[in-house]
Structures are given as structure tokens and as C-alpha cells.
């Protein structure tokens, strides 16, 4: 090495003239080399300086460095955050489901049932009014039934308004129905009062009441039923809102736990950390349980639909067809009960116009009704429901037999009296059908309510697990980590 240095010096001396050595030593060619080295040295020193500053800043945090216990503490904080996130995610799925299910149980299912009872009650009022009218002044029990049906309708409308809550559309529909019930009630009372006073024009008043019911009140009630059913469908959909976030959040947390477990296994040379493993198992088990609960809730709500609200809807459709038949009979009966002096002219009109149309309507109604009733009563679950359904069919058949008997008598001379007498019997038989159909509606409503309650109970019970499980798992996870941290202290 010394020889090389001597040799280098020698070579330099040989290349430079002795006399000009001082001047040529600072020539423009050699000057930049010195500056570059100094600059590089300064840059290196600045970098060292910056590193020292960074170390000084982070030294209080990491102490002597980023060691294992400190990493474990950070992981523990991560585990806490993960479980908080998990609880929040689960809650964001379960709580709205519970809320929607509660809404179904407390508001929407009863609302639909109330709407259907309202339909039935209004129809009964119509039928009882006609029977009261046809029974003459002595028909006070029929009149009382009419008044009872009106009272019941008004009371059901109030209940519907309460159940409608803040839904402005439903509330305004109910308000309209309430007003129309009042108007219908007034018309009916006026008709019976005029009849009691022997006013021959009382028939017009009854016709006006009946017509008002058909044109205004019934369509309003039907529209309300439809709106209530739509709301039921929406609430049901909310109650079964997607639960996919539950397993997704669980998978994220389980992955975090696996990562932490892997690190702990590496540093502790133990494959399993009991706390972390238990925490993971709890998360998995709770998630599986939640999915089963959601599935069971859906099954309950499906049963509420299949054995409660849907048969009820089908039965209501059958009832509407039955009401059409009965309305046709009422029209015929009212026409037949016109005063004697009118019947000379009108009986021909009845024979030629009303009766054929009436019979046609009845036949169409019966045919439609038969199909609808069959569908409505098909596949019902439960012995009591099937028994009441069977009774409903038998009472409808009895009514149809009476209708047929009246039709056979329609050509006789005593047309008016026969129509009057048979119409009273028909209205009574129809009332029998109505009441048993109502019993069936009651059973459907009770079934829908019971299944919806069962679904809610499931969810609410399981929610306790879903609140407790992340907390327990978090504690177990922290316990597992704390043991490792403790080994380093």
C-alpha cells in the first residue's frame, strides 16, 4: 500500500513542472472534484442529522425500539377496534330488522286485519239495512244489527286511524272513510225513518243509501285495504332486509384474529392462543346462530303470510264477490218491494231488465265466488281453521240454495211478496256466511299476529347474544394477548 502511494506521488511529480507546480495545482480541471466531495459529505451529514431528529421524536413512543410487547399492545388495541366494529355492524343489521318486525306486529298486521274487518262490517251494514227495510217496521232487530254494524265500522275506522300512525296517505284515507260512514249512516237512518212513517218514497232513500255505499264508501274502504296491504309488504321487506353484513364483518374480524394469532404463535412459539381461539369461535358460532335466526325469522314471517295475511286476502276477494251477489239480490228485492201501484209497470221492467241482469250477475258472482272461496280455503293449516273454513263453505252453499229457490219462484204471480220474504231469508243466510267468514278472518289475523310475534321474539332473544358475544370475545382476545405481553415484562 505504501509503495502504491509513493509511486502515485512520483507519477504526479513527474507530470508537473517544478517551477509552475503551485500555479498549476489549482487549475480549472482539478478544482470541481474537491467541491463535489465536500457537497456529498455535507449531504450525508444532513441526512444523519435528519435521522437523529426523527429518532429523537419517536424515541419516547417506542422506547428503546419497536419491540414485541409494544407490538402486542398495538394488536390488542386493534382487536378492541375490530370487535367494536363487529358490534356496530351486527347492530346495524339486527336493530332495523327488529324495529321493522315490531312495526309489523304492533301496527301493520293489525292494520290489515282492521281494514278487512272494516270491509266486512260495512258490507254487513248494507245487508242488515236491506233486511231491516224488507222486514218492515217490525224489523227492529235487523235495524239494530245495521246500527251495530255502523257503530262497529266507526270504531274500526278509529282503530285504523290509530294504527295508521304518521302515514299521511293512510290517515287521510281513514278520515275520508269516517266521513263516508257518517253519511251512509245518516242516509240509512233517514230511509228507515221514512219507511216507519209510511212514506212511499222511502224506497228511494234506501236506494240512495245503498247506492252511496256502492259508489263511495266501498271503493274507499277497498282502496284503504289495498294501501294497508302495500304497507304490509314494505314493512315485511324491511323486516327481512339483507343480513349479509353480519357474516362479512365476522369474516373480517376472524381474519384479524388469525393474523394476530399468527404473530403471537411466531413470537411465543406456541401454535394456539386460547383467548384468541375462543374469541374466534364465539364470533363464528354467533354468526352461524344469527344466520339461523334470520332464517327462522323469515320462516315465521312466511308462515304469517301463507297462513295469515294471504288466505285473508284471498278470502276478502271471495267476500267481495259474495257482496256483489248479495247486492244483486238486494237490488232485486228492493225493486220487488216497491208499492203495489208501481208494480204493475215495474214488474215488467223487473222481469225484462232487472231479473235477467240480476240472475246473470248472480251466476257470474257465484261462479267467481266458488273459485275464490275454493282458493281461499285451500291448503289452510290448523284443525280449527279448517273447521271454520268448512262451516263458511256450508253456509255459503245454504245461501246459494236459497237464491236458487227464489229464482225458481220468480215467475209466479206473487212475485213481490215472494221476493220480499225470500230476500229476508237470503239476507239472514248471507249474514251467517258473513259471520263465519269473519271468524275465519279472525283466525287468519290471529295466526299472522302469532307468527309475527314469534319472529320478533326470536330476533329479540338472539339480539342479546349478538350484543354479549362481541364483548365476551373481545375480553377473551385481550386476555389471550395480555398473557403474552405479561411474559415479556
Amino acid at each position: 500500500m505504501t509503495a502504491v502511494e509513493i509511486g502515485t506521488e512520483t507519477a504526479t511529480a513527474v507530470e508537473r513542472p517544478i517551477g509552475a507546480a503551485a500555479e498549476t495545482a489549482v487549475d480549472p480541471v482539478s478544482q470541481p472534484t474537491v467541491v463535489t466531495r465536500q457537497a456529498a459529505r455535507e449531504r450525508r451529514e444532513r441526512k444523519h442529522q435528519q435521522r437523529r431528529v426523527v429518532r429523537r421524536v419517536f424515541r419516547p413512543l417506542v422506547g428503546s425500539g419497536w419491540n414485541t410487547p409494544r407490538r402486542l399492545i398495538v394488536f390488542a388495541a386493534g382487536v378492541v377496534a375490530a370487535f367494536l366494529m363487529l358490534g356496530g355492524a351486527w347492530s346495524s343489521v339486527v336493530d332495523p330488522r327488529i324495529q321493522a318486525n315490531r312495526e309489523l306486529r304492533d301496527r301493520t298486521v293489525p292494520l290489515v286485519a282492521t281494514a278487512e274487518w272494516l270491509t266486512s262490517s260495512v258490507s254487513e251494514a248494507d245487508s242488515a239495512l236491506t233486511a231491516a227495510f224488507l222486514s218492515g217496521t217490525a224489523g227492529r232487530e235487523e235495524l239494530q244489527r245495521y246500527l251495530d254494524a255502523i257503530d262497529r265500522s266507526a270504531s274500526l275506522a278509529s282503530e285504523a286511524a290509530r294504527l295508521a300512525g304518521n302515514d299521511t296517505e293512510l290517515r287521510s284515507a281513514v278520515a275520508e272513510i269516517n266521513e263516508q260512514i257518517g253519511r251512509f249512516s245518516g242516509l240509512g237512518r233517514a230511509a228507515t225513518a221514512r219507511q216507519a212513517a209510511g212514506d212511499p218514497k222511502s224506497i228511494d232513500a234506501l236506494g240512495e243509501a245503498s247506492s252511496y255505499l256502492r259508489r263511495r264508501l266501498s271503493p274507499s274502504v277497498n282502496a284503504f285495504v289495498k294501501a294497508a296491504r302495500q304497507r304490509l309488504a314494505l314493512d315485511r321487506s324491511d323486516a327481512l332486509s339483507a343480513g349479509g353484513l353480519v357474516p362479512v364483518a365476522s369474516v373480517v374480524v376472524v381474519l384479524i384474529l388469525l393474523a394476530v394469532s399468527a404473530y403471537v404463535a411466531r413470537v411465543s412459539r406456541r401454535i394456539l392462543n386460547p383467548g384468541l381461539v375462543a374469541a374466534g369461535l364465539i364470533v363464528v358460532a354467533t354468526t352461524v346462530g344469527a344466520m339461523f335466526t334470520f332464517s327462522a325469522q323469515e320462516r315465521d314471517l312466511n308462515r304469517a303470510r301463507d297462513q295469515g295475511t294471504e288466505p285473508s286476502e284471498r278470502l276478502s276477494a271471495a267476500r267481495t264477490a259474495a257482496d256483489d251477489v248479495q247486492y244483486a239480490r238486494n237490488t232485486s228485492a228492493i225493486a220487488g218491494s216497491l208499492p203495489d201501484e208501481s208494480t204493475g209497470v215495474l214488474s215488467k221492467v223487473i222481469d225484462r231488465e232487472i231479473l235477467p241482469n240480476d240472475e246473470l250477475l248472480v251466476r257470474r258472482g257465484e261462479s267467481r265466488m266458488g273459485g275464490l272461496l275454493g282458493t281461499a280455503l285451500d291448503g289452510l293449516d290448523g284443525a280449527e281453521t279448517r273447521a271454520v273454513a268448512s262451516e263458511t263453505v256450508r253456509r255459503w252453499s245454504r245461501y246459494v240454495v236459497l237464491v236458487s229457490a227464489t229464482s225458481r219462484l220468480a215467475d209466479t204471480d206473487q212475485f213481490t211478496e215472494r221476493v220480499r220474504s225470500n230476500a229476508v231469508q237470503e239476507t239472514v243466510a248471507f249474514a251467517g256466511f258473513t259471520v263465519t267468514a269473519d271468524s275465519l278472518l279472525d283466525l287468519h289475523a290471529a295466526r299472522a299476529q302469532a307468527e309475527t310475534s314469534s319472529a320478533l321474539d326470536r330476533l329479540e332473544s338472539y339480539r342479546q347474544f349478538m350484543v354479549a358475544a362481541p364483548l365476551i370475545a373481545m375480553v377473551l382476545g385481550l386476555w389471550g394477548l395480555q398473557r403474552r405481553i405479561g411474559e415479556y415484562r
Binding site: R145, A387, V435, T436
Partner: protein, 387 residues
């Protein structure tokens, strides 16, 4: 048999008011309850699904080896302990209500109170619902009984027989009496008139005569009718308030020429004395009914269902109607009687058993009063009898 089904609530000769009666019944009930509980424990212990214990009014079914009970037993294999010892609605209520409220079983699976007592028991939650799933013949129940406001759809009671109160007169002693107005004002009937001790029927008929609505009774109206009856008793126009046995005896021996009466009794009486006539008053008749109810906690529901189904078969119901001749609440009885021939066919044409639509439209059932209001009216009516 005649007339003994009805032992009216405060009967003639009872000197206590109804509330006093209730109190005394309370004491009696305590003693009876002790006896009954021992009895019920025994009876309930050996009860099974093939055994039915039915408490009914006296003489209110066809009895004997070929009677309804015997035929039912042979047909179904269910043993029936038939007890015709129901004498009074209130007495029955006071005897069983405390146990039922306490959740204890009583020694009967089936009771047959009058409708207003059934309504009260239902309101107090002392009844079990009917086993509808096993009652195929529920469909044969006549429609008006489905429309009762206190039991719509008849889910808690099955009517047993319908009782109609109207006017009976002896054709041999007086001319036709067609209205309550005539009964209570005609001078030729003064001192020869009696009314029934069943308040709901007597006062109900008087309310109808005054144009009141008995399906929705106003207490003031009812009290006015009771006051009017007091005046009629004081003036001597109405000779007596008779119970179910006495009024028939008085009608038979001529002491009374015309009276408030029950149709079923008069139909039976007409077999022996055709001069006794029954009319539905022009103002309207009172209709009530006794009804089968299941006390809470009854173990033998299946036997009860079989019994009800049996009774609601029109041919079986027709047999009961032919025997006791009250109006049946079962649809199809008229046709079944017609088909049975002989006296059954004759009965099927009876306007008293099968009133036409116009007459049915003039039959009314008491309603609209609360239990307290009814108690008060019964007290006032009982006071008349004391006087």
C-alpha cells in the same frame, strides 16, 4: 215435565232482595263450595275423555232408555252423567264462580245457563272456548245466534233451546188477547191476569208494549215499566207474579184467564186442554235462550264436542224438540220433524215452534244493560214480589 225447566230468578215467596239473595247465596256457596270441592275432586279424578258431566235444567230433554242421553251413549261410547238440577242462574253462578275464578275445576264439563248469565260468565273469563275444530255441526246453528254482540260467531256457547214469552189465554173463559196493551188494560180481565216472575220476559214485554227497544234497554224505561206493574198489582188488575209452576196451575184451574207465558209450556198444555191458546203479542214477543257453555279448565272437551255435535245433528235435535217442544236453535229441525212422520210432521207445521219470517221479525232478545244495571232491575222487580 211441564214448566219445570224455568225456575225464575226471584221466585214468589222469596222475601229477600236479589242482592240479599246473592249474599245469602254467598254463604250457602261457601258451604256448598266445601262440599262441592270434595265432590269435584272425586269426580274430576275419575273423569276421562269418555265421560261427560252435564248440568241442565229439569225436564229439559227426552229421558229414558231410548232418550237422547242413552242414544248418545250408545252411539259414541261416551258415558254421560246428566244432572237435571240447574234451578237458578244466580244460584249456579254463586256456586261455581269462586272456584272458576280461583282456577279450580268444577264437577261439570258442561253447564246450561240462560244467555244473559252466559254473557256475564264470559265477561268474567269463566268459560273456555268451544272446541270448534271438532264441532262439524256448528254450521247448523241458526244465524241469529252467530250475531250476538257479546259472542260474535258463537265461539263460547252453543244455544240449547229457545224460549219465547208471549201471552196465553183460556179461550173458554175469555176472548182473544192479542196484545200486552189488551192484557194490561182490558176491564174484563181485571183480577184475572198474571205475569211471570222472570223479569226479563215480563218487563221486556211491557217495554215492547210501550214502544221501547228491548234489544237496547234503557234502565229508566225499564224502571218505568216496573213502576207501572206495581200500580197494576196495587189496583188488582194483575193478580199475581207467578213462577213457572204456579202460572200453569192458575191457567189450568181458571183462576187466571190470561197471562204472560212461555210458548213451550203452552204447546205441551194444549195436548190436555186445547182451549188454552198462545199468541205472539202484536207489539212483539220476548225471546231468550239457554245455552251450553264449557266452564274454564274442563278436562273432557272431546266428550263435550261429541255431545254438541250429536245435539246439533238435525234428526237428534228434532227428537229433543218433539219431546220438550221448545224452539230449536238447530237449522234443519223442521225438515227432520216433517220426515219423522206422525206427530213430528204435525209439529213441523206448528207456528209456535216454527214461526214464519214475519213473526220471527217480531221476536226480540233483551240487550244493552250492564251487569250492574241488570242487578238493580232484578232487585226492583224482586221488591214487587215481596210487596
Amino acid at each position: 215435565m211441564t214448566g219445570s225447566r224455568r225456575s225464575a230468578l226471584p221466585t214468589g215467596g222469596v222475601t229477600a232482595t236479589r242482592r240479599e239473595m246473592l249474599r245469602s247465596f254467598g254463604l250457602a256457596a261457601a258451604a256448598a263450595a266445601a262440599a262441592a270441592s270434595a265432590c269435584s275432586a272425586e269426580q274430576v279424578a275419575d273423569s276421562g275423555v269418555d265421560r261427560l258431566r252435564f248440568l241442565n235444567w229439569n225436564d229439559y230433554i227426552d229421558e229414558g232408555p231410548d232418550g237422547t242421553v242413552a242414544r248418545f251413549e250408545r252411539s259414541t261410547g261416551v258415558k254421560v252423567a246428566y244432572t237435571p238440577e240447574l234451578n237458578d242462574n244466580v244460584e249456579m253462578y254463586n256456586r261455581f264462580a269462586p272456584d272458576l275464578r280461583a282456577g279450580k275445576r268444577i264437577p261439570y264439563d258442561l253447564l246450561c245457563p240462560t244467555f244473559w248469565m252466559a254473557e256475564r260468565m264470559l265477561a268474567e273469563d269463566l268459560l273456555d272456548p268451544l272446541p270448534i275444530a271438532e264441532l262439524q255441526n256448528h254450521a247448523n246453528l241458526d244465524v241469529p245466534f252467530l250475531q250476538l254482540p257479546w259472542d260474535r260467531g258463537a265461539r263460547y256457547q252453543m244455544p240449547y233451546q229457545v224460549v219465547v214469552a208471549g201471552i196465553a189465554y183460556n179461550e173458554a173463559l175469555t176472548g182473544p188477547v192479542n196484545s200486552m196493551g189488551e192484557l194490561l188494560t182490558r176491564s174484563d180481565l181485571a183480577g184475572k191476569v198474571s205475569v211471570l216472575s222472570e223479569m226479563l220476559d215480563t218487563v221486556g214485554l211491557m217495554l215492547l208494549a210501550e214502544g221501547s227497544d228491548v234489544t237496547n234497554v234503557l234502565v229508566d224505561d225499564a224502571q218505568r215499566s216496573i213502576a207501572r206493574l206495581r200500580d197494576l198489582l196495587a189496583s188488582g188488575h194483575v193478580a199475581a207474579i207467578h213462577d213457572s209452576e204456579d202460572y200453569l196451575a192458575a191457567l189450568r184451574d181458571g183462576t187466571v184467564h190470561a197471562c204472560v207465558a212461555w210458548a213451550g209450556d203452552i204447546i205441551q198444555m194444549q195436548r190436555d186442554d186445547p182451549s188454552i191458546k198462545f199468541v205472539f203479542p202484536t207489539e212483539g214477543a220476548m225471546r231468550s235462550f239457554d245455552t251450553m257453555v264449557i266452564p274454564k279448565g274442563t278436562p273432557n272437551r272431546s266428550a263435550v264436542a261429541k255431545w254438541m255435535n250429536y245435539l246439533y245433528d238435525p234428526s237428534n235435535a228434532a227428537r229433543v224438540t218433539r219431546s220438550i217442544q221448545y224452539i230449536s236453535p238447530v237449522l234443519g229441525v223442521q225438515v227432520a220433524l216433517e220426515r219423522s212422520g206422525a206427530d213430528g210432521a204435525e209439529l213441523s207445521n206448528s207456528p209456535l215452534l216454527f214461526p214464519d219470517a214475519a213473526t220471527r221479525a217480531r221476536m226480540f232478545t233483551w240487550g244493552g244493560t250492564t251487569a250492574d244495571e241488570l242487578d238493580a232491575l232484578l232487585d226492583d222487580f224482586a221488591a214487587l214480589q215481596e210487596g
